[in-house]
């Protein structure tokens, strides 16, 4: 054990931001259920203490869908145990988190195939078949 490890640093911290965030999600989900628009919350804009990130994930839990997008690095799109609440984590090619959102929506925009890509794909397929 190195001398640094010998220093026990405990993190008994709470910014008090987790609760309000969860309530914000609750309100957003209620609105979505009532047929209103979805909401996106940027988690990097919130000061969170070490461990609070994990706490949010813990509370939200894991749902049925878990998808990975591979574009400019991996992006994990994960439905939480509350349908309609999604956790979107963008990483770069170095696996470093570059952005993290809670999306309250039917399906995160990014999961849908994009019109430009579809067009591009269609032409590529056409070319493929021509040859």
């Amino acid at each position: 054990m190195s001398s640094l490890d010998a220093i026990p640093v405990t993190a008994e911290l709470a910014t008090g931001n987790v609760e309000p965030l969860l309530h914000e999600i609750r309100h957003a989900l209620k609105r979505l259920a009532d047929g209103e628009d979805g909401t996106v919350i940027d988690l990097q804009r919130l000061p969170l203490a070490p461990g609070e990130d994990e706490r949010i994930e813990e509370v939200l839990g894991q749902g049925e869908v878990r998808a990975e997008i591979n574009a400019l690095g991996p992006t994990l799109v994960q439905e939480t145990s509350y349908p309609g609440v999604w956790l979107v984590t963008h990483r770069n090619t170095e696996q470093v988190v570059v952005a993290r959102f809670v999306e309250v929506t039917h399906i995160p925009e990014l999961l849908k195939s994009q019109q430009a890509d579809i067009e591009n794909g269609a032409s590529r397929l056409e070319n493929e078949l021509k040859n």
Partner: protein, 353 residues
């Protein structure tokens, strides 16, 4: 990327899908501290953005700012931002050297007159132009010359923004900030020693996206990043409220991660985004790793009474001066009383006469 090419077009040619582009825009919006709802707007703007020319001048500096930037998370989304600009001059990063480098700068200035961005790191010595020169040109001369036709200037790092460490007492070189010399151009101060890399790229992204300069605070810093002080966004703030402070760096409070106010943390008077954006790819920031904020994004942070002196400690002068004041007070008190007693004596003798 050609300079007349749109960014969206360029990215598509690089094999980046629309989905990838949207991800890039999300991250960029987040980086620019814009609300997630602005992603569509950012995407639209970025798709049709043109590649700006950037000239980066380094004066009295330690290259820490450049290091901070280049070692951040390359190759990353930010690196795309750099791909998206034309860095025409940066004497640490460019391949060209000597006359060739200077010629590149002159060429870029001429070609993009009135449109290029000037990025400066380091302060400018005024005492003697020979203290810092590049290719025999003094920093002052080069700054004036290059700023003349710039669209805007980004002063990167506290040295360029406020004079920084070279400016610290007794300031042997007579170092000043960019804003002390250039007064007729918009200057964006991205202070910090070094600044958070995301903030540098965020400002570039803003310029790229909107072609304008972001909203600035009284010290010329982008409000999006410097609008709130560290203390207000610090995860250790609850300890401050509860009055739980680390008294030394190795006591129980320090181990428990209590507030570092007493150990000289300058969080309450320091405006920066460290507490939210954090450093080293979002790993941590000074307070989280157990050291108080030193206030590096503030003017004259080096001369504010010591990194380990609490903010509320006053510079009250020497004990001797106070003792001197007390002695002077006593002398004046005795003097005034003696004068009053002399008058009293006179009054008494008058009455007897």
């Amino acid at each position: 990327m050609r300079k007349d090419q749109f960014l969206g077009e360029y990215l598509r040619m690089q094999g980046v899908s629309r989905r990838g582009f949207l991800k890039f825009c999300s991250a960029t919006a987040s980086m620019m501290a814009l609300p997630p709802s602005a992603v569509a707007q950012v995407a639209e703007a970025l798709a049709t953005a043109r590649r700006p020319s950037v000239i980066w001048l380094s004066f009295q500096e330690c290259t820490g700012c450049t290091e901070s930037l280049t070692r951040s998370h390359a190759p990353t989304v930010e690196s795309l931002i750099f791909d998206a600009i034309s860095l025409d001059y940066h004497h640490t990063l460019q391949a060209a050297a000597g006359h060739g480098a200077e010629e590149a700068r002159m060429a870029a200035m001429e070609e993009n007159a009135g449109k290029y961005l000037l990025v400066v790191d380091g302060s400018i010595p005024l005492k003697n132009p020979a203290f810092s020169t590049i290719a025999g040109i003094s920093n002052l001369e080069m700054l004036k010359e290059t700023a003349a036709n710039a669209f805007a200037i980004i002063a990167v790092g506290t040295c360029a923004a406020f004079g920084g460490i070279p400016h610290a007492d007794p300031n042997p070189t007579g170092a000043v900030a960019v804003s002390d010399i250039i007064t007729d151009k918009p200057i964006i101060n991205v202070s910090g020693c070094p600044p958070i890399p995301v903030v540098i790229t965020g400002v570039l992204a803003h310029f790229l996206t909107f072609g304008t300069i972001p909203e600035l605070d009284a010290l010329g810093r982008p409000v999006a990043y410097f609008g709130q002080n560290i203390h207000d966004r610090c995860y250790r703030r609850p300890f401050y409220e509860r009055g739980q402070f680390a008294e030394t760096f190795d006591d129980e409070g320090a181990r428990k991660g209590w507030c570092l106010y007493k150990l000289g943390c300058k969080g309450p008077t320091t405006y920066n985004a460290c507490a939210t954006l954090k450093w080293n790819a979002g790993t941590s920031f000074p307070i989280q790793s157990g050291h108080g904020c030193i206030g590096c994004s503030e003017p004259d942070f080096w001369d504010k009474g010591g990194f380990y002196n609490p903010i509320s400690a006053g510079m009250w002068g020497s004990r001797d001066a106070l003792v001197g004041a007390a002695a002077a007070g006593a002398a004046l008190g005795v003097g005034s009383a003696l004068a009053a007693r002399a008058r009293k004596k006179k009054a008494m003798s008058q009455e007897e006469a």
